[in-house]
Structure formats: C-alpha cells, structure tokens
C-alpha cells in the first residue's frame, strides 16, 4: 500500500505553491491539533528525518513519520472546492478525526 495518493490537480497545485514559495520540499504529512475536534492531518514543507517514510508522487516528495502513518494508513490528497484558498482536503484510510473529509488545510511553508 502506498503512503500517499493525489487527486488530479492536487499535484499541480502543490508544485505551483512550492514554486511560489521558492521551497523545494519535501512535504510532511503531519498531525495537527484542532482542539476539541480531534487532531487532523496537515501539510508542511519540512526536512527528512531519519525515521521518516518517504515517497515521491507525481514529482513531489512526501514524508510521514511511522507513528502518524500507523494511525492514518494511506493518505489521499485532493484540492478543496475553493481553489482561491489553495486548500487541500486530506482523507485517510483510517480516519484520524470524526471530521475527516470536512476539514481542509493549506500547505504551510
């Protein structure tokens, strides 16, 4: 099973944002707190850590810690409806949050 799958358009959107931000990646899929609504998955440009799981998808490198991977399973990244906000929807085969599928996140540089 792969770490990450990207919907059509998501890869291009990520690449554009990296270009705009003059960042090279990789992009970490991480746990982010969302208070009393359970944690959620987020995206942040980061460095690779020794224990990370790494995968390149459509020319973009993603990393995820084994602990997060254990909780989430495979992560699917798609563009949210609202393209203006550069928002992404992250869902996982093992939902992290009861709000999975509703919360969007942006790519943090």
């Amino acid at each position: 099973m792969s770490l990450v799958t990207l919907d059509p358009g998501a890869a291009q959107a990520v690449k554009s944002l990296l270009l705009e931000g003059r960042a090279r990646g990789p992009i970490r899929i991480e746990l982010q707190f969302t208070g009393c609504c359970d944690p959620s998955l987020g995206l942040i440009v980061d460095t690779v850590r020794e224990s990370d799981l790494v995968e390149e998808v459509d020319g973009v490198t993603f990393v995820i810690s084994p602990e997060t991977r254990e909780l989430s399973g495979e992560v699917k990244i798609s563009c949210a409806d609202d393209k203006e906000r550069n928002a992404f929807l992250l869902t996982s085969s093992k939902p992290i949050s009861e709000w999975d599928g509703l919360i969007t996140c942006s790519l943090r540089m």
């Binding site: 746990l31 969302t34 208070g35 009393c36 609504c37 359970d38 810690s65 919360i103």
Partner: protein, 887 residues
C-alpha cells in the same frame, strides 16, 4: 456492553442503516458501550422532526412560564440520573471523577438557573421610548422570538456541560434542537434525551444523533430547514461550518480554539500564581479550549517561578479517572496522545527546553490508557509553533518578558482571543493589563471560572457570539421590531407624501406641556413652581446684560433659599462650549433645577444644560438629534426677558457648533420647559431695536406655522391671534416701552407663536435667517423679518387661504380682493409694519455681502426646516432669488 440509540422525534431508534460504533474508555483503551451511528437519513429525520415540532408551536408557542415549568422537570430528571451521568462522563471523556461530579451537577443547575432568569428577567419585549423618528411617532417595541430549528454540535472535552450550553438556551427561548455529540463522547447526550423524554418535552423538540461529524456536518450545516448552528470545537472545523452555513445564511455561534496567555506580574503572590498556572494548564489534561497554556513570566522572578512550577507539576498524581485520588486522567484518544507527542517533539526541535514531563505515563492496571505527564517548556519564543498552535494536552509554554507592555503584546500576538489570566497583588494594575488583552474572558488571580450568568466566547479566530448569560440566551432569538403609528391615515403619513403631490399633513399631535403663568407680579409663582418639580437647588442661568439690569437678582430673591447660584456667562448665540461651561457649574453646585432668565439664547442653552445635567456627557453628545431622549430631563423654569423666541414653550434648542460652522438643533419633547413665567416687568427695559427684532421673530414663527404643511387648527388659532397681537401692540410698544400692558400682550403673542410653531414647524424664512445668522451674525429676529415677506410671496400659490387669513389678522381689509390678492397683501402688510416700527428692510443693511448670496442659498436649502415649507423647495436658484430680493 450497554447499547445506546439515537433520539429522534421523541423515540429512541436505531440508525436507518443499522450501523453502530463503539465508544472507548481512554483510561483503558477498551470499548465499553455501543452507540447507533447516525447517517444522512437520520440527520434529515431529526431535522424534519425538529422543524415539525417548531412549526406546530407546541413548544415555541408555549407561554414562557409553562415552558420553564417543563424545563425545571427536565433539570430534576437530569439530577436523578446524576450518578450514571458522572460515571459515563468519566469513562467517555476521561474526566477525573471529582471534576465530572461538579460538571454534571452544573449542567442541571445551569438549566434551572437560566430558565428562571429567562422567565423573570429576560427582556422578551422591550419598549423603545424614543424612536429617533420625529415624523412617524407611535409605539415602537421589540420582541424576542425563537430562531427556529437549532443544531448543537458538541465537543468531547465536556460532553454534558457543553451540550447543555446549547440545549438550555435553545429550549428556554422556544426553539427546537438537534444535538450532535462528539463521536468520542456520545453517551451523556443520549442520557439527557432520556431525561427530556421523562420530563415531557414534546416530540421533536429535542433530538440527539451521535455520528461522525464529517458525514453529518454537511447535512446539519446546509439543510434549509435548519435556522441556527451552535458549535463548540476547533477553529478549523468552525471555519468550515461557517462557510457551509453561509449558503442558506444561518445564524451561527462558534466557540472555537484558543492559545490563552496566563500573565504573571512581578508583584504576584508566588504561591497563588504557581497554583494558577498549573491549574490553568493541567486541569483536565489541558484539554480545555481556554487553558492558559502560554504562561508569561517576568524576568526578575522567572527562575524562581519556573522552579516552583516544575515542583508543583511533578507533584500532580496521574491515575485512572475513576480513582478519586487522581489529579489528572488520560487524554481522550490515542490520536490525541500521538499528537501531543508530535508537538512535544516539535517544541524540542524549535529549541524549547523541557524541564519536566515530555513522556507517556503508564498507570498500573490500566496499561492501555492514554496518559501523558504534565509537561513544561521553558526558553519558549512566542513565534514557535508550540506557542502559536493549540496543543490540546498537558503542555505549558513558559515565556519570559520584561514589562507589562511586552506581556500584553505577547498575549495579543495570537490568532486566538478566547481567554486569559493575570496574577498580581495589585488589582488595579492587573485590571489595566486585563483590559488591554484582546480576549473574551480575563480572570484576575483565578482561572477556569465559569458561571451560567457570565458570557463566554472569543475575540478574533476564537469565535463568533457568546454563550451563557443573557447574551447567550439572546443568541437563540430573532429580534422583531413592531411599529404602530399614532395615525393610521394616509393624509397624516409624512412618509407617504413622498409619493404624492399633496404634501399637507392632516392629523397632528399637540403636546405643549409647559405651565405658563402670566401677569404683572407672576414671578412670585416661582417659589411654588420649583417645589412642584420636587426641587430645592435651582441654578439661575442668564447673560451679563440681564444680570446687570438686575433681573436675575429679582428672580434670585423670589427663590429665597432655593437658589444655589447665578451663572451669567451665557453669550448670544451660545455654542457647545458655553453650554458645557454652564453644565460644569450646575454639576459643581449640585443643582436640581435650572431657571433661565433671558432671551432665546439663554433659554436654549438652559434646555441643553438640563439634558447634560440629567443624562451626562457633553452638549455635543445631544445636538443635532431629534426625538432621542427617553426620560424627563432636569426641571426647567423660564423667565423670558424678550418677547419673540417663544422658546419658553417649545421643544427645540438652537446651539452653534463653531467647528461645523452651523447652528444645530436639539429637538425633543423632553426639553420643553416645565414652566414659564410671563411677567411684563422683565421686558419693559428692553431696547427698541431688540424689541422690534424679537417681535419679528415671533411674527415669523406665527406666519410660517400658519403656512406650514404641518399646520393645524389649534396652531392656526394661536398663530393668527399672535399675529393680531403683534400687529396691534408692536407700534404701541415702540412708542412707549414702559407700557406693561402692551409689553404683556407682546409676551403672550410670542408664547402663542411658540406653541404654534413647535407643533406646526417653521419654513423657508427660518432656513434663510439661520443662514445669515450663522455666517454673518445677523440677529435672528431681524433676519426673519427681512426675508419673511419674500417667502410669503414665494409660497402664495401653496398657502393662499392661510395667507389671506394672515392678512386679515394684520388688519388688512380684504373685502373685494381675490384670495390670492389678499394673500399677497399680507406680505405687503408685514413690510408696512416693519417700516412703521423701524425694522431693517434689506440684508445689505445688516451686513450681508452681495457676493455671499450664492453660498447662502446652498446653506439655507440644506436646513431641515425646508421640509415643512408650504411650497416644496428643491432648487437652490429659487432660494438665491429670494436672497436677492431681500438684499
């Protein structure tokens, strides 16, 4: 394992698709109950039930007392379920038992208390005593009505209390509600449904649908039958809810995330501050949205504070939540535990130092539980992610600062603004800091204190709206204004005339409450008039001339020991500053009554002093406002020393705003003087020029009131008799100023003209006179007299009959004339009278430059009195031509 169902339309039911889910005890990591898992169909069924129930009116239409009685039963049934609720709350949410006991008890208490508050104190209906609309008087009131179908989305940290924060106000105010509890903690909401059913809350009023937010949220937040959403949770989810709700413009209240600062000042009681910092961060394992997780500590006590806080944190006992000796239980889920660990790692990578904690804890016999040690980071910079992002766990960030201002800046450097704390032995200093922090709640020398009558909610991205207290109840209502006019008549509706060529207003409201005492020696009445107003401390306001003439002292002597002073610094054409100066003296002398002795300037200034003295503030707070006062003002007795203004009985005051370069009005029935004394002894010394000019002011009041679109038969009678009195007595006064009989007739004429125009209003002549008075200091009466005949001719085809009557009152023999000729003869008669008494005839004679006429016309047409002129005034050239004629 116990099984729980959905509660829809008064029945406990399985999910439509039969799905269930397990709920986990975070202290053991093991499931302990199964719950029906609601899906889209169940959400739609619950919304439909709530809609039916609301529209049927079995709940929303109940008298508040009947509704509250059922809710008191509901509270009792919750109390009966108390032990079960506490156990369930502990096992579902991981709350330690000592805390859960208080929280569950509070849930029923807040329902009972808010219900009683609403029934006895909430303003379901409010009168608007002063509407601000001078043209359409009537009863104005506001009703608070229920919003309709509400959705309450509840988080997992306080499943019972935060459900009740939504259920209580929704039901108290007559709404119906669908509650979606958090999937981690779905059980106590279902138990609340059992209590609601037992209490007899009608079917469909209260519904509970446990299930995943991602699946149910869209239905709940977009369904057209939902009117309001109340959500407690994260800023991220709240943002999506607001976005979804916007499509159907639902009302939304959001209580969202926080990263609150707990500010320890350098004079804080160290023991208290350390305890407050630990309590603010580690209570309920830090899983509270307002937790004070950024602890700001001044440099000079930093080391000692950190050392003592570390010792205190390490003394906290972590245990299974049902162990009564435990201070801290588990975090709510394994995902939560993993996220705490992730952020602790991030903090270390960012350079912060862990001085205690930073690891999982195993509790003997509960090895599968999600326990984490209380953790303190030092060397934290406020820009670090651990200082900016909400860590919903037992993790404190201690941040050093050097001044109160720096602490405030750090506290405010956050996207959140939910709460915060200040610890200091100097309450004034602590309050200064608390006021400067931009959050919805600030605790001084305390933390995490809630109360059902106190509002809770956030600034910035911490939320929208407030929960609890009257503010929280109001969030569950719609505001409806109801207007019932004085007149239900199309010909008396001034708004309707905008679509009509007939501008004349038929009906009228004659409200002239001044007690007028008339005659030689009537000043003596003032002793009783003051007592009638319940007063004992009268301040005389006057001007230097009147004071010098001895008239103010005459009044003082009549007041005997009721006079607390004479203020004689009121200038002609008083401005805002002179009113404020008089008010300051009145306040200093603790005056409870104002006696004005003078002409229009003194009386008008006194009217505004009466307002500022009673209602507070400065003159500028009230000027240029119409019908804005909602209660009687400081009592005011007038002794006029001129016969012209009529201000002794009118509801208007004219004050100059030097900055704006205009004369501005305060118009309100509440400033009408309480009493007026017309004693001719006060006018016999008036010089001829002023006698003539003020008389023409009164004449203009009477003639313009008669011509006005607001004229009526009472005012007409007063206006015509005033015209007759002035016409007959003014030449006699000019001939013999000491003649008290004719002086008194002139006073009566001025008062009657005042009564006439205070109801019927004036017109274009006054607009023009105000203009040259403001710009070129032309005495008001003289300016009125000069322009009045021109305006009468301008209006001749719109007030023909009225002007013909004016002609007769002026002594013109109109027999044989057409009505129009008679009307024009009135203007001629005014000019003849003016010439006879030596009144100036042209604007050039009183200092108005010819080149100013254009600017004057633009100034005059903007005066509000044009609204009442008999002939509509819309073209500045018309006004210019009149100024040119008068020039």
């Amino acid at each position: 394992m116990e099984q729980f169902k959905l509660f829809i339309d008064g029945e406990f039911v399985d999910a439509a698709d039969g799905r269930t889910f397990e709920t986990i005890d975070p202290g053991t990591g093991l499931p302990f109950a199964t719950v029906a898992r609601a899906g889209k169909a169940d959400a739609e069924a619950a919304i439909a039930a709530a809609r039916r129930a609301f529209d049927k009116g079995d709940w929303s239409g109940l008298d508040i007392a009947a509704r509250i009685a059922i809710l008191q039963d509901f509270a009792d049934h919750i109390s009966q379920q108390g032990v079960r609720m506490v156990m369930t709350e502990c096992m579902d949410a991981g709350q330690i038992v000592g805390y859960a006991r208080i929280i569950v008890m509070w849930a029923s208490l807040l329902l009972r208390n808010l219900a009683t508050y609403a029934a006895t104190k909430f303003p379901f209906e409010e009168e608007i005593m002063a509407s601000g609309n001078a043209f359409s008087p009537g009863r104005e009131f506001v009703r608070r009505e229920p919003v309709g179908v509400c959705v309450g989305i509840v988080p997992w940290n306080f499943p019972t209390a935060l459900a009740m924060w939504k259920i209580a106000p929704a039901l108290i105010m007559g709404n119906t509600i669908v509650v979606k509890p958090a999937s981690n903690t779905p059980l106590t909401a279902v138990i609340l449904a059992e209590a609601a059913k037992a209490a007899g809350i009608p079917k469909g009023v209260f519904n509970v649908i446990p299930g995943p937010g991602g699946e149910l949220g869209k239905t709940l937040c977009t369904h057209p039958d939902v009117d309001k959403i109340a959500f407690t949770g994260s800023t991220e989810v709240g943002r999506e809810i607001m976005r979804m709700a916007s499509d159907t413009v639902k009302k939304v209240t959001l209580e969202l995330g926080g990263k609150s600062a707990n500010i320890i000042l350098d004079d804080a009681d160290m023991d208290l501050a350390v305890e407050g910092a630990c309590f603010g961060t580690f209570l309920h394992q830090g899983q509270i949205c307002e937790s004070g997780t950024r602890i700001l500590v001044p440099s000079k006590i930093y080391d000692e504070f950190v050392d003592r806080m570390k010792k205190r944190a390490e003394a906290l006992r972590i245990g299974y939540q049902l162990d009564p000796t435990a201070h801290m239980g588990p975090v709510v889920s394994k995902e939560q535990l993993a996220t705490v660990e992730h952020y602790v790692q991030l903090g270390q990578e960012e350079g912060a130092e862990i001085i205690t904690g930073g690891k999982r804890v195993e509790v003997e016999g509960r090895e599968g539980g999600y326990y984490y040690a209380p953790t303190i980071f030092t060397n934290v910079n406020n820009k670090m992610r651990i200082a900016q992002e909400e860590i919903f766990g037992p993790v404190a960030c201690v941040i050093k600062y050097d001044s109160d201002e720096e602490a405030i800046a750090i506290a405010n450097d956050s996207i959140y603004g939910l709460a915060g704390g200040v610890f200091s032995t100097n309450i004034a200093r602590a309050e200064r800091v608390a006021r400067a922090v931009r959050t919805g709640t600030m605790w001084i020398n305390n933390y995490h204190v809630f109360a059902e009558y106190c509002p809770f909610g956030g600034y910035k991205q911490s939320g929208v709206g407030r929960e609890l207290g009257s503010w929280g109840l109001a969030e569950y209502t719609q505001i409806k204004r109801i207007h019932v006019p004085y007149f239900s008549d199309r010909n008396t509706n001034s708004g309707f005339t905008l679509l009509s060529d007939n501008k004349k207003i038929e009906g009228f409201n004659y409200n002239c409450p001044t007690n007028v005492v008339v005659g030689h020696g009537s000043l003596s009445s003032i002793y009783k008039l003051v007592v009638d107003q319940g007063c004992r401390r009268a301040l005389i306001l006057t001007d230097p001339g009147v004071r010098k003439a001895g008239l103010a002292d005459l009044v003082k002597n009549s007041l005997v020991d009721f006079c607390v002073g004479i203020y004689d610094d009121i200038p002609q054409d008083p401005d805002l500053e002179s009113v404020d100066g008089a008010t300051a003296v009145a306040r200093e002398l603790r005056a409870d009554c104002i006696v004005s002795v003078g002409g229009g300037s003194v009386i008008d200034a006194a009217k505004v002093v009466c307002v500022t003295l009673k209602s507070g503030g400065r003159a500028n707070d009230y000027i240029n406002r119409w019908y804005a006062l909602s209660e009687p003002q400081t009592p005011h007795i007038v002794v006029p020393t001129t016969a012209g203004t009529g201000s002794e009985v009118t509801s208007a005051a004219v004050i100059t705003n030097k900055t704006a370069g205009r004369k501005l009005f305060l118009a309100d029935p509440r400033i009408t003087p309480n009493a007026a004394i017309l004693d001719p002894r006060f006018t016999v010394t008036l010089p001829k020029e002023i006698t003539v000019a003020t008389a023409m002011d009164a004449m203009t009041h009477a003639v313009e009131a008669s011509m006005s679109i607001m004229s009526n038969q009472i005012c007409d009678g007063q206006a015509l008799h005033a015209i007759r009195l002035i016409s007959e007595n003014l030449p006699l006064v000019v001939a013999d100023g000491r003649n008290e009989k004719v002086r008194l007739n002139m006073q009566i004429a001025a008062t009657m003209a005042g009564w006439a125009f205070t109801v019927a209003q004036t017109g274009l002549a006054h607009c023009m006179a105000h203009t040259v008075g403001t710009l070129y200091h032309v005495p008001h009466g003289a300016a009125c007299g000069i322009v009045l005949p021109k305006v009468m001719r301008f209006n001749v085809d719109h007030a023909t009959a009225k002007l013909a009557q004016v002609a007769q009152a002026l002594g013109v023999d109109t027999r044989g004339m057409t009505e129009r000729d008679a009307a024009l003869a009135a203007a001629d008669a005014i000019e003849a009278l003016m010439e006879k008494v030596g009144h100036p005839m042209r604007l050039r004679d009183v200092g108005v430059p010819q080149e100013a006429l254009g600017a004057c016309s633009l100034h005059a047409i903007a005066d509000s009195n044009v609204l009442f002129n008999a002939r509509p005034v819309g073209d500045p050239m018309d006004v210019y031509n009149l100024f040119a004629q008068a020039y």
